[in-house]
Amino acid sequence: MSAYDALRQEALSLFGELAAAAEQSAAAKTRRRLEDARRQLADARLMVVVCGEFKRGKSSLLNALLEESGLFPVDNYYATSLTTSVMYGPEEDITVRLADPEAPDEVEERHVERADLAQYVTESGNPDNAKNVQHVSIELPNPRLASGLMLVDTPGFGGTFAAHTAATRAILPGAHAIVFVVDKEPMNESERRFLREAARAAGAGRDGDALICVLTKIDLLSDTAEIIANTRAKLAADTGLPEDRVTLVPVSSRAKLDYVAGGDEEDLRDSNFAELERVLWSTLARRQARVLLSAALTDLDLSARALLEPLEAEDEALRARLTDDAPGLESALAGRRDRVSELETGDPGWRDNLYNQVLSLATKVQETALFGIDAVWKRLDEKYLDDDELLDDPVRLVGLLREDLVGELAKAKRELDEGAAGLQRRFARINAVDSDLPGIRALPDPPVPEVPALPRPRAADQPSEIVRVWKSKKTGARIGMSIGMAAGRTVFTVTLPIPGAGSWLGMGIGGALGGLVGSAVDLVAAARTVTREMKQNELRKALKPWYTRQRNEIKDCVHSSWQEFATAIAAEVDSRLAQALDSAQDAARRVDLAGRCTADEARTRQAELVVERTPIDRALGQIAGLVQAVGEFAPPRRVDEDESAQREERKP
């Protein structure tokens, strides 16, 4: 069980205890908030995207990681040209989603047995994906997944399979950890090209790098030192990290699966999977688990205090009643009533202020993104188009542009995620509805709850490049999206709701990259022209529409979504305010009642209150302990901090 598992379990049980207390106090609003927050933590996914070229041992790795021999078919022909996600479910349920050529916005969901999976996901079972499978979703009652781990197996990538690569690429910005699978063969150029991009997408997080490289099939070598050194050197060159900071975990899936079958500890040791799990969980902890726990603890603390407030008020009033302290009682009642009317009236200014702040954040993010796109364009003009080799190699040129763009947009996404979370906390604080537990400020700001409606950037007027949201035929629920390109044909699909506030931006990135692939044909034609100047002009001409389109896309995204962000934040603050009001009203009511009861009744009530508040006090103690534990658990790793720490050490 990972440390996250334990912390999460404790938080979940606290939600249960507090909900029971809320039930007893008839605190309906608090109970609902607790239920919502509990569900958010319980349903939260830690998304691990697994990518790698064909035949590097991805399927075996996933089987070994899940300890499910034979879940992913290992076939000589196996080619994952689909995204497959695996997550927890109370019982095994494999859903294959098939596109319907007649109704492009809908998908058919078919539940299949594990043994039949190969018929859909292997090249021999489903040649050229004739069955039109778009996505496979697997739910398993596997304890390894119980805490929300979601593994996403992505299509392989390779030289000319631009569509596959694009599908993988589009979900990278949303990943909490990226597992990049290589094997005992030296990494080749297409792998390295993709890795550079993945590293840009993965390295943009506040809490350090999310990229984990796994070198599989070490059982085929007697000595892995040479290939590890070779791969490590390439990883260092491609990620810009020093060699000793590169995360590279050599594993043997065969040994792990043998351990699963036979229980031989030596197999487990030789598999090195314990190290892989350690690295994976510490990455997830840094990248996402702390964020989720921070949100849960904030909610727990707010709710516990909301439950305690009426009890404490009542206790205080009863004490005044028993000491016949009439002025004390009166002022207590007045105080509680003031609090109620204060919350009822509220500060009318904050909402407008919030909208303004979100708008200015969105504007800033837009500027960052546009500035980034312009910088990429400038680099093209000043650097790439001056490079004779690149003029002859448009594929590499596009690759470079794409790497640059991913880096720039990831920066913007990070600014948005963190800015939105910061605003939410700030406005909660302005309204005095934020947790003030010691230590909670050191945790990451809880994220903005997911924006309910996904915006659709420019679907109507750009049929050649569309982002489409899919609905389930049966339930009508949004189950994913596809990004189509190349003249109305859906070339690849990504069927994952990209989590977090920056989802639209993630889609923007996907769309932009699709556009780049689309124009590659013109680029090749451009590179065939004769003179250097012609080449430069033709390439510039071929890329210009992409540049313009990308800029418009970003503007559209911001225009169509900033208000939804503001609404989401406001809704969260409102909900906390409603909870506070509920609690204040209850407190006022109880103070009023306490003043009017008999001494005997007061004494009985006092004894009852001691019992009533016991679970809440206990919960508050546990929450404080959890905050501390989460603070100590996988502290953030920041490259710049590490470096400055090193500089400090070097000082005499």
């Binding site: 196996y78 063969e185 150029e189 007697s222």
Partner: protein, 528 residues
């Protein structure tokens, strides 16, 4: 309808001589003249077969296995940098051709001297390696009688990005390599595609792109595939990796690879290489493992290479370090196979090596190269000659536009005509063309007819019995009767609606002519 007197080689020599004679000793046609002379001089030389494939596909390992010794450096990471041309000669000689021009000869070279100039050594100087155009290693080698072998660092199109990057990683120049590789593809008459066991059906589509991007050079007739790294698939549950490899190769061929490759064969390159280079000490170690270790323990330990060479596996007789190096040299498949053979009675190193050569698929692969490329070598080369001459003549004619060049232009046309006549005269070329068209999917015969056509045009051997698909005991009378039957069948086909036009109709006529020639050959009294 006759090929003319003498052997094909004599006829090509005569035609090229005649073509050269037509040309004036004129600077304007020097290129063409040079080309013709070059081809005439080179024609009797063996066919040149290049090993191509992605970085670390196992080309050098396969080269060693085919050459029967350790000539190319092999390892776990990118190694081969320079193009390496191996050919048979009476005495050993290494010639280093430099990019800047000029060559250096090393008499009685050691293999180390060759490897130092081919591979990135631990202390090798990449700048020096980059100055080399290619290396030519001549040495007495019976395996090279039928063809020369060219080991490359990776070729063209889908492959070039990888190898170029590998070289960039090694600190070497990218553009230079591309040019060198292109020249060597030109220089090779045929290629062996070295494919490290299949990645996906789609990856093979890439191979198709690669092949069709290099017209004229990589038709199926000139390309065979080696499915390498088969030994990686070994596990205690799947010991017979060669059988699994054959199944896979067949599936790939049936799945469309037969349009790209003449044949695709699984080879355990590592084991094949070991068969050529096994030391006495290694043999002794294998014997110790085979005879003194419990077979089940051995299988359990050898399953994990990372464990096999480790000191704490005390149940095995050979010291850990030597076990590790055995694993590197033979892999789990090679070790278990050798031990099985030794337990089965193989008692000396040479017998074991012979068995390993057979069971690694290398013997069959070498035979395929000898039979296929050896038997067709001259026809394949002739095709290249005709294509080259036509292309160059085209250029020369274009350069000689206008009245001033009229006389020379006529000379060029006559030279070209000489070669084109060759193309019409040589029945073998037409037959080869039928084979091409079949593999290219241009023929609309039924599969039965297609197979018969291939057989008749000599795809499976050029003796009358092989062409007619009859057993060796068949009498001449039976052969003649069979040929006549076939003749009638093909005459009927040519009259059928879909037999008439296009490539299929042409193929019908070629088959008919082949049968005519066959009947003529079998019954000389009838025709003369």
């Amino acid at each position: 309808m006759t090929d003319g007197p003498g052997t094909l080689r004599d006829r090509v020599d005569a035609a090229l001589g005649q073509a050269i004679a037509y040309l004036p000793r004129d600077k304007t046609v020097a290129d063409l003249r040079h080309l013709l002379e070059d081809h005439r001089r080179r024609f009797p030389a063996p066919m040149r077969v290049a090993l191509v494939g992605r970085v670390s596909a196992g080309k050098s390992t396969l080269a060693n296995a085919l050459l029967g010794g350790r000539f190319a450096a092999t390892g776990r990471t990118e190694l081969t940098y320079n193009v390496n041309w191996f050919r048979n000669a009476a005495t050993a000689e290494l010639t280093i051709h430099y990019k800047a021009g000029g060559a250096e000869r090393v008499a009685q070279p050691t293999v180390e001297a060759l490897i130092a100039r081919t591979a990135r050594g631990r202390d090798g100087d990449p700048r020096f390696l980059a100055t080399i155009d290619y290396l030519e290693f001549a040495h007495p080698n019976a395996r090279l009688k039928a063809f020369d072998l060219i080991d490359t660092p990776g070729l063209e199109s889908v492959y070039v990005a990888d190898s170029a990057n590998a070289l960039r990683f090694l600190g070497l120049d990218e553009e230079g390599v591309r040019v060198t590789n292109a020249q060597h593809t030109e220089r090779a008459n045929a290629v062996v595609h070295v494919l490290p066991k299949p990645s996906s059906a789609r990856e093979y589509a890439l191979l198709g792109d690669f092949l069709s991007a290099a017209p004229g050079k990589t038709t199926p007739v000139k390309a065979v595939g080696a499915l390498t790294k088969i030994e990686d698939e070994w596990s205690p549950d799947q010991c017979d990796v060669m059988a699994a490899g054959r199944v896979l190769a067949k599936r790939l061929m049936d799945g469309g690879m037969n349009r790209k490759l003449y044949d695709l064969r699984p080879v355990a390159g590592l084991v094949g290489q070991a068969a050529a280079t096994l030391t006495t000490e290694e043999f002794d170690d294998l014997c110790a493992l085979a005879l003194r270790a419990d077979p089940a323990t051995l299988v359990r330990q050898v399953k994990y290479g990372n464990r096999f060479g480790r000191a704490d596996s005390r149940e095995l007789p050979v010291p850990p370090q030597r076990r590790g190096s055995l694993f590197d040299r033979l892999g789990a498949f090679g070790i278990t196979l050798s031990c099985d053979l030794i337990r089965g009675g193989v008692a000396d190193r040479d017998t074991l090596c012979g068995e390993l050569f057979e069971r690694s698929g290398l013997a069959a692969f070498h035979r395929l190269l000898v039979d296929h490329f050896g038997a067709r070598a001259d026809l394949i080369k002739l095709q290249d000659v005709i294509a080259d001459v036509e292309a160059q003549a085209e250029k020369s004619v274009a350069a000689l536009r206008g009245p001033a060049g009229a006389r020379t232009r006529i000379a060029v046309e006559r030279a070209r005509a000489e070669m084109i006549q060759m193309a019409y005269r040589e029945r073998g070329l037409d037959e080869l063309d039928v084979v091409h068209k079949y593999y290219a999917g241009e023929l609309s015969f039924s599969e039965t007819d297609a197979q018969e056509a291939l057989r008749i045009v000599g795809e499976h051997g050029t003796s009358p019995r092989q062409r007619l698909g009859l057993p060796p005991i068949a009498s001449t009378a039976e052969l003649i009767a069979s040929a006549h039957r076939a003749r009638r069948h093909w005459a009927m086909l040519i009259d059928s609606p879909d037999g008439r036009g296009g490539a299929t109709g042409g193929a019908c006529r070629v088959v008919q002519r082949s049968l005519d020639a066959l009947i003529e050959e079998l019954s000389p009294s009838v025709s003369r």
